[in-house]
Symmetry: C2
Subunit: 340 residues, 2 copies
């Protein structure tokens, strides 16, 4: 598996560690403009596919049936930080669809937001499934199951009709046979989907510029998802989270969605600069999400003139601090001479 060094971790003046990975950039017509590393490396889509896990539910009328508002559609596509603004919306989705927190099958973890995690512990509480970063996705899956009269108690099984609908739409957007997609179990116990990185980019290209031949209700669902994600960037991630920061830095221009184990997908809406839009797929192949991924994502958006050169200086180059708060190094992207 070819991969390129995409970021250097530098302490003092010495490169201490490196992060490798793969990048593919295509326009909205799915012409590959640039790639680095192994663009056809097969890996899991992870949470970057949440828009497509919500798509058949919305396209099929389920979201409207249960009266889901736009923030609830956004949370269905989110990997949230478990802050009160997130758990509140997840609880509302469950209520509208007639379910309880205990019907979720995503399991629990401490909120990604450290302050919220500490607040919870300090109050003597434990996280509930609402705090799971995928609770919005799972609430929508429960509602989806109810809407198409599938068994809601096994909604997380790949054999459940809702998961088959999701697999079908992901294959359609990725433009690959469903049979070629390897199924794994995600951290939240829902099925997840392995495919070439280029196929993930095609999913996002088809999301921001739905191709001819897609049903009208599917196209409409794409627009609703994009609109909801851009309108509620804080719900997609949370305080200090990459997706939120990027969507707030380029409001109305793009959707950003991380996935676990170093995945990042971005869809840039058609505009004067990119008439058919752009789809960007990044995989840090060691699974890094805290060092190379944010730095490389920001530098890619700068190289593509979607962010200005001076944007987000707190992310790239990323300072390395010691425990006393002094800057002792930095994380630099390593793409400038390689791409675009």
């Amino acid at each position: 598996m070819n991969s390129e060094v995409l970021a250097h971790v530098i302490r003092g003046e010495t490169v201490e560690s490196v992060h490798r990975g793969h990048i593919v950039i295509m326009d909205g017509d799915k012409n590959v403009l640039e790639s680095l590393g192994g663009p056809n490396t097969v890996t899991y889509f992870r949470s970057a596919c949440k828009a497509f896990q919500a798509l058949p539910f919305i396209a099929g009328g389920g979201a409207d049936h249960f009266g889901f508002a736009e923030d609830e559609i956004a949370l269905a596509c989110a990997s949230h930080s478990g802050e009160p603004m997130h758990t509140k919306v997840a609880a509302s989705m469950l209520r509208k669809a007639g379910f309880a927190e205990s019907d979720l099958r995503c399991g629990t973890h401490l909120p990604f937001n450290e302050k919220e995690a500490e607040r919870l512990i300090a109050a003597g509480n434990r996280p509930t499934q609402l705090h799971n970063n995928c609770s919005g996705k799972h609430a929508a899956m429960l509602a989806f199951a109810k809407h198409i009269e599938a068994d809601p108690t096994s909604y997380d099984s790949i054999t459940n009709p809702i998961q088959q609908e999701i697999l079908k739409i992901i294959a359609e957007f990725a433009e690959i046979p469903a049979e070629s997609i390897a199924i794994g179990v995600d951290g939240c116990a829902a099925p997840n989907f392995a495919m070439p990185l280029t196929a993930m980019a095609r999913c996002f290209a088809n999301l921001i510029k739905p191709r001819e031949g897609l049903a009208e209700n599917v196209k409409t669902a794409c627009y609703r998802i994009i609109s909801a994600m851009m309108k509620f960037p804080e719900l997609i991630g949370g305080t200090e989270r990459l997706d939120t920061i990027l969507m707030k830095a380029a409001p109305g221009k793009l959707i950003s969605k991380v996935g676990a184990d170093g995945v990042w997908l971005c869809g840039v809406l058609p505009n004067d600069q990119y008439p058919s839009g752009l789809a960007i797929a990044l995989k840090i192949d060691d699974g890094d999400d805290k060092r190379a991924r944010p730095v490389v994502a920001v530098e890619l958006l700068k190289r593509l003139d979607i962010l200005t050169t001076g944007a987000l200086p707190e992310i790239s180059p990323m300072p390395i601090l010691n425990r006393r708060g002094d800057i002792v190094g930095r994380i630099d992207a390593n793409i400038s001479e390689k791409i675009l």
Copy 2:
């Protein structure tokens, strides 16, 4: 920089991510037996050099001057988890040397031990510098400064005489010129040392089998450090920490010391199987410490017949769990066909 894929992160049956790195194995006479990747890759020694940061203090009589006990010598070489057993010893070291917690310059972080971190937060407390994983090292450095009448308020500066003594001994053990060692600032604000991975292995070879020409007091300090580390494995790391687990799995046979950003050094004492002993150096080049490092370390020790084939099944292959606790994948070392 050449590197080898040392571990596969597998979800379902698909490799989702990979970790690359470098390995060098030498005997106690510093003959390289095996290497993988780029054994001469330059990176920081990080906390794997703590034995050598304590060495000149012990060799110079400082530890005896202040009446440091064997557990206190062990903690000077530790990257501990901030559990009560650790902070207690660090506090005792400070007391014996006539310093207070506020004299430490290592900064604070939550204990590595999650239960202890949660206990602290739940009690409404914040971590002190005693909880810093390097507090034992820093307490010994303060004592070292006092013992040789260096300025204890700048003990963490590379220009302080104690840091120059440390640099000198590290160069001597690494068998490279001190001028060739790049200095960086560690996470705990103390100076750290960049050198080829092979040079780090030589340090450990000279620690477990001190070479001819080293002063007798230095040789004695080596034996005291090794003995202390093996006698108090829980102090070197802590509950569920790699160094502790490995030293408890092969009691009296080896010393194990992790360093941040994917570093692991191991010294196997001379024995029937390895008459001059062994030194093993590992660097996961993306800095991973939770996935590839423990798995590869355990597999290396198995390949070398230092651990039995069935040892530590909870570490290697390492199961990947979802948030509900189901096993959904595994992390496999990828060294068996490449080495030994």
